[in-house]
Amino acid sequence: MERNKQKETIVEVISNGPLKISGNIKLTDSVRGITSEDNEIYLCRCGKSGNKPYCDGSHKRHQGM
């Protein structure tokens, strides 16, 4: 499926993995003082990442996602 990444924002729930968000995004994490307008981010869904709020692949070492 063809998508225009610039215009459409897509939130993809990756099975047993992170939340992939691409497109026109404004990320804010006030606890860590992060604001970002990156066009593609992967956010941790398993709670185990050592680099929250981003995914660092830790979910692969844990069962039960």
Partner: protein
């Protein structure tokens, strides 16, 4: 061609074929008679229902509805996107005669950025207009707010169900 009638509380009715819907508003009729003089095969006051959408080709029905001097008869394309292009020559298109029936198609302007907020010891809150891909399905969410689990303990993934608080999630 399917012929489908719909009754409403006001006495107004709508009739459709595969292409268009014709709206009938009896309270607006002044009996100018253009409809049945022009196309008795469709508009026959002696028949019930008095509008037979199978009686003629769509083009002829549109032409005849456009002759009605009042808003008693109006029409629209069933394919909503076509309605935006209808010109003023079609006097009885709903845009001109029955604007209350016309749903303006969603603006094609670019939606603003989607807000992604990380909540303290809680979920990811996403607000705006975006496409959600989940389990091979695709959903278009327009101006919505949703919270997605970040702790891994939710019972209704991918959404947050408040479990982070019970589990004492920190992050």
């Amino acid at each position: 061609m399917k012929d489908e009638r719909k009754f409403t509380n006001t006495g107004d009715r709508s009739y459709r074929n595969d292409d268009i819907t014709v709206y009938w508003k009896p309270s607006a009729c002044i009996h100018a008679s253009s409809c049945y003089r022009e196309l008795i095969e469709v508009f026959d006051p002696g028949s019930r229902p008095w509008i037979n959408m199978k009686g003629a080709e769509t083009d002829r029905i549109i032409e005849t509805v456009d002759l009605c001097p009042t808003e008693a008869l109006a029409w629209k394309w069933n394919e909503e996107s076509r309605n935006a292009e209808v010109s003023t020559g079609h006097t009885n298109h709903i845009k001109f005669k029955r604007p209350e029936l016309y749903k303006v198609p969603p603006a094609t302007e670019e939606p603003g950025p989607v807000s992604v907020k990380i909540m303290r010891d809680g979920p990811i809150v996403i607000e705006g207009t975006f496409t959600l891909l989940h389990n091979e399905t695709e959903k278009r969410l327009i101006k919505t707010i949703n919270s997605f689990c970040r702790c891994g303990s939710t019972k209704s993934p991918p959404y947050c169900d408040g479990e982070h608080r019970i589990k004492g999630f920190e992050g």
